[in-house]
Symmetry: C2
Subunit: 622 residues, 2 copies
C-alpha cells in the first residue's frame, strides 16, 4: 500500500469531502483551462480560413469575433441560470434528462462523452505539437510525449481535486497574465499611435489574394472560431466540487472565466488587423502562429515573448485536464441512472471517481495511439458534440422555467430560448461546415453510444429483476454437499484438504488423474494413510476415483467428473475442493502451474447453480 500512497496520496475518508472542495482560485485552473486555452487556437482556426483573402480578410475578423462573443454571452447567462436551478451539478445530461426526457438526456450524454475524449486527445496533442514545432528534434518522440503527458495528467487527477488545482495554478495564471498584459500593452500602443502602431518585429508579409469572400467561407470561419467556446459547460457540471455556498462560488468562477475569455478574444481581434497580422499556412515553411506573431509585434522577441509562448504550450497540453475534471462526473451521473457500469459511481481513495478517470485515460490513450499523437484530423469531429450538448441544455432549461414558473421565470426562459436557438443554429452550421471533414464520424458514433448505454441499462434491469426477491428464505431440501477433492499425491496438502472435507460432508470423492508412477504409489498407500485411520475414527470412507486421461489433460477430466456428478445427483450441491499452495513470494508462482485457477473458472462457467468451488490454501513456511 506504500507505493499507492506515494502515487495517489493517503486515502481520504468520506467526511473529508468538504475539505477537498475548492474556491474560484483553484476552480479556474480545474474547470477553466479548456475554455481559456481556446483563446490560443480559436482565433487561429478562424484566421487560417481567411488566408485566401490576403490582407482583405482582416475586415471580417472583428464582426466574426463579435458574433462569437455574443454567442458566448448568451451561453454564459444560461449556464448561470442552470447553476442556480441545479445546485447539485447540472450538466447538459442532467438538465436534458430531467426536462426533455430520457432520449434527449442520452443524446446529450453521448455527445458530451465523445467531446471530452476529443478534448483530452486534442489538448495533449496540440500542446505536444506546439512543443515539437519549437524543438524539432523531438519530432520522432511525438507519441511518447503525448502518452507521457497523459499518464502525468491521469496520476495528478487520481490524487484528487485539491492537488490538481494546486498543480495547475501557476501555469494558468502566468498564461492569463501574459495574454492580458499583451492585450493591454498592444491596445495602449495602438491608441498612442493613432490606430497604426509600429510593430517591434514586423509580421511576415501577406502575398497575393487567391480566393474571394463568400457567405460559405464566412460561415465556415465562424464555425471554426466557435471551437473557442468548448469547455464552457464544465463549471455547471462540477458545482458540487466547490465550497459552500457552492452555487455562488461556481457562478463566480464561471463569470471570471468567461470575462477573461471575452477580453482575450476581443483583444486579439482588435490587435490583429491593427498590426497587419494574418494567419500563415501551418503546413508550409515559415509558419508562425497568430499569437506568436502578435507577441513579437507588440513586445519583441524578448523574455516576455518566451514566457508567453511557454505558458501557451503548457496551458494547451493541460487543457486536457478539463476533460479529466468533468468526464468522471458525467460518467457518474449517467451510471447513477444505470446507463453505464456501476463502477463509475464509486469514489476512490482520494474521493475521485477513479473509474471515470481510468476510462477517459484509456480512451484518450487509444485515440492518441491510433492517430500517432497527431490529432489534426480529430478537430473537425470536435465542436459538434459540445454544441449539441449546449443546445439540449438550453432547451432543457426552457422547459424547466416553463414547469417551475415563479418570479423572473419569463426573463430566464427568454435568455435560455435565445441560447437554445443560437447554439442550435451554430450546431447545424458546424455540422454542415465540417461534415465531410469528419463530423460524420460523430454523427455515427452518437447513436452507437446511445444504443450501448441503453443495452447496459437493459442488462442491469434484467439482472435486478432476475435476482430480486423479498420472499423469506426457503428452508426445505437442505442436503449436505457431495465433496470432490482432486489430489496429485498423498502429502500434507492433500491431508489438510481431506480433513477439511470431512467437516463438510459424509460423501467425499477423492479424484486423481492417472499418470503412471504417482498413481500406483497413491493406490498402494490409500488404505494405510486414509482408510484405516478413517475406520478407526468412525469417519465416512472417502472414495478414491482414478480418472483416465489419454490426452494428458489434467483439468478436463476433473471438470467432466464434476459435471457428471451434478447430473447424477440432482438434489445435492457439488462442492469441489481445490488445494492451493500459497507461496510467500509472488515470483514463486511462476514455478507452479495455474491449474487451480483453470479448474475454478471452468467449473464456475460450465457448471450450473449447484457446483461450488472451494480454495483450500496451504501456506508454505519457506
Amino acid at each position: 500500500m506504500n507505493i499507492a500512497d506515494a502515487l495517489f496520496g493517503r486515502p481520504l475518508a468520506t467526511e473529508e469531502e468538504k475539505a477537498e472542495r475548492i474556491g474560484p482560485l483553484k476552480g479556474i485552473p480545474i474547470f477553466g483551462l479548456d475554455a481559456l486555452s481556446s483563446a490560443a487556437y480559436g482565433p487561429e482556426a478562424a484566421l487560417t480560413l481567411l488566408i485566401p483573402l490576403g490582407m482583405a480578410g482582416a475586415i471580417y475578423v472583428w464582426p466574426i469575433t463579435i458574433g462569437i462573443v455574443v454567442l458566448l454571452g448568451i451561453v454564459y447567462f444560461s449556464y448561470r441560470q442552470t447553476i442556480s436551478a441545479y445546485p447539485h451539478g447540472g450538466g447538459s445530461y442532467t438538465v436534458a434528462t430531467e426536462n426533455l426526457g430520457e432520449r434527449a438526456g442520452l443524446l446529450a450524454a453521448a455527445a458530451l462523452m465523445i467531446d471530452y475524449v476529443l478534448t483530452a486527445a486534442v489538448g495533449i496533442s496540440a500542446g505536444v505539437g506546439a512543443l515539437v514545432s519549437a524543438v524539432p528534434s523531438l519530432q520522432s518522440q511525438t507519441l511518447h510525449l503525448c502518452l507521457g503527458i497523459l499518464i502525468l495528467i491521469t496520476l495528478i487527477n487520481l490524487r484528487g481535486v485539491q492537488e490538481t488545482g494546486g498543480v495547475f495554478l501557476l501555469p494558468t495564471y502566468v498564461f492569463i497574465a501574459c495574454l492580458l498584459g499583451l492585450i493591454a500593452v498592444g491596445i495602449f500602443k495602438t491608441l498612442v499611435a493613432g490606430g497604426h502602431p509600429v510593430p517591434v518585429v514586423v509580421p511576415p508579409k501577406i502575398t497575393g489574394i487567391t480566393g474571394s469572400v463568400s457567405a460559405w467561407l464566412l460561415l465556415r470561419t465562424f464555425s471554426s472560431g466557435c471551437t473557442a467556446m468548448t469547455g464552457v459547460e464544465a463549471v455547471s457540471n462540477g458545482v458540487m466540487a466547490f465550497r459552500e455556498p457552492s452555487d455562488k462560488c461556481a457562478k463566480l468562477t464561471l463569470t471570471i472565466i468567461i470575462a477573461i475569455l471575452m477580453v482575450m478574444l476581443l483583444g486579439i481581434a482588435y490587435l490583429v488587423p491593427a498590426y497587419g497580422i494574418a494567419a500563415t499556412d501551418p503546413g508550409m515553411p515559415g509558419y508562425d502562429s497568430v499569437l506568436s506573431q502578435l507577441l513579437a509585434a507588440v513586445m519583441g522577441r524578448g523574455a516576455f515573448y518566451w514566457l508567453s509562448i511557454g505558458s501557451i504550450l503548457v496551458v494547451l497540453s493541460l487543457s486536457a485536464n478539463t476533460a479529466f475534471a468533468d468526464f468522471p462526473r458525467l460518467a457518474r451521473a449517467i451510471a447513477e441512472n444505470g446507463y453505464l457500469p456501476h463502477a463509475f459511481v464509486i469514489r476512490g481513495r482520494r474521493l475521485v471517481f477513479a473509474q471515470g478517470v481510468y476510462a477517459l485515460a484509456l480512451l484518450t490513450g487509444l485515440l492518441l495511439i491510433i492517430f500517432g499523437g497527431i490529432t489534426d484530423r480529430l478537430i473537425p469531429l470536435y465542436a459538434v458534440g459540445a454544441f449539441l450538448a449546449f443546445t439540449l441544455s438550453q432547451a432543457g432549461m426552457v422547459m424547466h422555467w416553463r414547469r417551475t414558473g415563479g418570479p423572473g421565470a419569463g426573463r430566464s426562459m427568454f435568455v435560455n430560448a435565445l441560447g437554445a436557438a443560437a447554439t442550435g443554429i451554430t450546431t447545424l452550421v458546424v455540422l454542415v461546415a465540417k461534415f465531410v471533414d469528419g463530423a460524420w464520424i460523430t454523427v455515427l458514433l452518437i447513436p452507437a453510444l446511445i444504443l450501448m448505454m441503453r443495452s447496459v441499462r437493459h442488462h442491469y434491469a434484467q439482472v435486478a429483476l432476475e435476482i430480486r426477491t423479498s420472499a423469506p428464505v426457503h428452508t426445505d431440501g437442505l442436503a449436505e454437499p457431495v465433496v470432490l477433492l482432486p489430489i496429485d499425491r498423498w502429502s500434507l496438502v492433500s491431508e489438510k484438504a481431506l480433513r477439511y472435507a470431512w467437516t463438510l460432508s459424509r460423501e467425499i470423492h477423492v479424484l486423481h488423474v492417472g499418470c503412471g508412477e504417482d498413481t500406483d504409489q497413491l493406490c498402494r498407500q490409500w488404505s494405510e494413510v486414509v482408510e484405516k485411520p478413517a475406520k478407526m475414527a468412525g469417519l465416512p470412507l472417502p472414495q478414491l476415483v482414478v480418472l483416465a486421461s489419454p490426452y494428458r489433460f489434467i483439468v478436463k477430466p476433473i471438470v467432466n467428473y464434476a459435471i457428471q456428478q451434478q447430473i447424477a445427483q440432482p438434489d445435492r450441491n457439488i462442492t469441489v475442493l481445490i488445494p492451493e499452495l500459497v507461496e510467500s513470494h509472488w515470483y514463486h508462482y511462476l514455478l507452479h502451474n495455474n491449474r487451480p485457477e483453470a479448474i475454478r473458472a471452468l467449473l464456475l462457467f460450465n457448471g450450473n447453480q449447484r457446483i461450488t468451488v472451494v480454495s483450500v490454501p496451504y501456506h508454505l513456511v519457506s
Copy 2:
C-alpha cells in the same frame, strides 16, 4: 475450443506420439535449418573481416575454410557417437550432467539456452534484414515484420513436429538445390576455363589496401567463420523426435546436414577467389553480399538468381526454427531435473512441449523489441554459448567412454578428446576476439542463469520437503467451520448462498458493509426474510454483522473481519462464501466489479492455514 483447434490442430493422444515422429526428409528442415543457413552468413562474416586486405585477402579464404571444415568434421563425429550413446536424446546438457556432474551440466544448459534465444532472434532479424535491403520501402516496418514472423513460427511449432517439417520442406530443399547447383556450375565453368572463368556479371572492383595481415586478424576471421557451426548440436538433442530406429535415423539426418554444409562451405571458398569476389562493406552504399555477387558472377541476374536469393531470405528467417525445435526439448530435460519450472515437462495438445515454445517466443520477442528488430549487436554474443556447449559435450563424452569402456572405446575417446580440445580452443578464440564487442554479456549472463536454475531447484526441494508425508491422516480435532457470508442486499443470490451455508455449519455470520439506504432496508427485512423462517425450520440463526467503512472500502472490512475471526477461534476453520454472478456473455463482466476476485486473493494471501474461500456461483439466465 474451435478456435484452438483451427489454430493448433486437434489434440493428439499420447499413443499418437509414434505417428508424430519424423524421418530424415522432415528432420533436415526441422533440425538442420540453422546449420545449413549458416552457409549464407558464415563465409560472409569471415570475408568481411578481410576487406582491409583488398584482393590479397583471397589467399586466406581457403586455409581458413579448411580449418572450419576440419573442426566441423571433428564435431560431427563426436555428435554421432553422442547419438549412439544417448539414444533417448543427448544434448550437451544431458551428456555434461551425466558425465561431468551438475555444475558442468548447468554451465552447458545456461550457455545453450542463451544461444537458442539468440539463434531465434538473429535468424529472424537477419531474414528480415535481407528482405528490407531488397525492398527498402519496408524499412520502417522492420520490427513489425520480425514480430509477425516470430508469431508465425510460434504457431507452426505449436501445431507439432509433423506440421513444422511439412511447412519448411519446400524452402529448405529449394535453398539446398540452388546452392549446390550454383557450386556445381561454378566449379564446372572454372575447370573449363582453366581456373580463370569469366564472370557473367563482373563483381565490384576492389580498391586499395587499407590494412595488413596479422595473426590477430586471421584469428578473428576464423572465429567469425565459426558462426557457421552453430546449430550442429540440434539433432543430438532431438533423437526422440525421429522414427524407429531413431538413433540410426538421427545419425543419417546429421550426416546429410553436415555433408551438405561442408560442400557449401568448400564450394564457396573455392569459387570466391576464382571469380575475384571480395566482401563489400555492409554499412556502405553499393553493398552486395558475397553470395549475391557469386550468384550473379556464375549464373547472371536471371530467374535462377532471384529464386536463390528468395530461398536464402526464407531459409535465413526460418533458421530461427531450429531454436524452436530444440529449446523446448532442452528446457524439458532441465525441468525434469527440477532446475526449471515443472510446466516445461508437460506435453501440450499437439505433443509439443508448449511452455518451452511460449518461453522462447516471449524471450525472442523481448530481444527483438529491445533491439528494434536490428540485432547486429547481438551477433558477437552468439557463438560463445554454442562452442562452450560443444566443448562440455565432447569432454563429457570422453568421460563417458572412459567409464563404459568396451570395444572401440579407445578410438571414440580419442575423437571426442580431439573434439573437446578443438572446440575448447575455439571457444577461447571466439571469446577473446569478441569479448569487447559483446561476448562479455554472455559471460555475465551464464552465471546469472545458473544461479536462477539452482534457486528454482532449491525451492522445489524445499516445498517437497515441507509438504511430504507418508503418515496416515490425522482424524482428531475435526470441527465444523465458521461460515462468513458477505452480502450487499437480500436477493436470490444471497438466499442461495445462505441455504448453502446452512449445509456447511451451524455458525454463520452474514457480513454487510454499511452504505446508507441498502443497509437500513436489509436490517428491516432481516427478521422477516431470515430469522422467522429459520426459527420455524429449527435451523441455527445466522448473525447479521454490519461493518462500518469510513473510507468506502468494501473489500477491506470483510477481509479484516475474517482475519479477526481466525484469531478469535483458533481451533476452527473460517470459511468465507463469496456469491458470484455468472453471466452468459463475457462482456457482461465489464458491468460488474471485481470484488469477489479481490476478496478471494486477499484472504488466500493474508490468511493462514485456516481460512478457505468458497465461490458460490449464481448463474443468470438472461
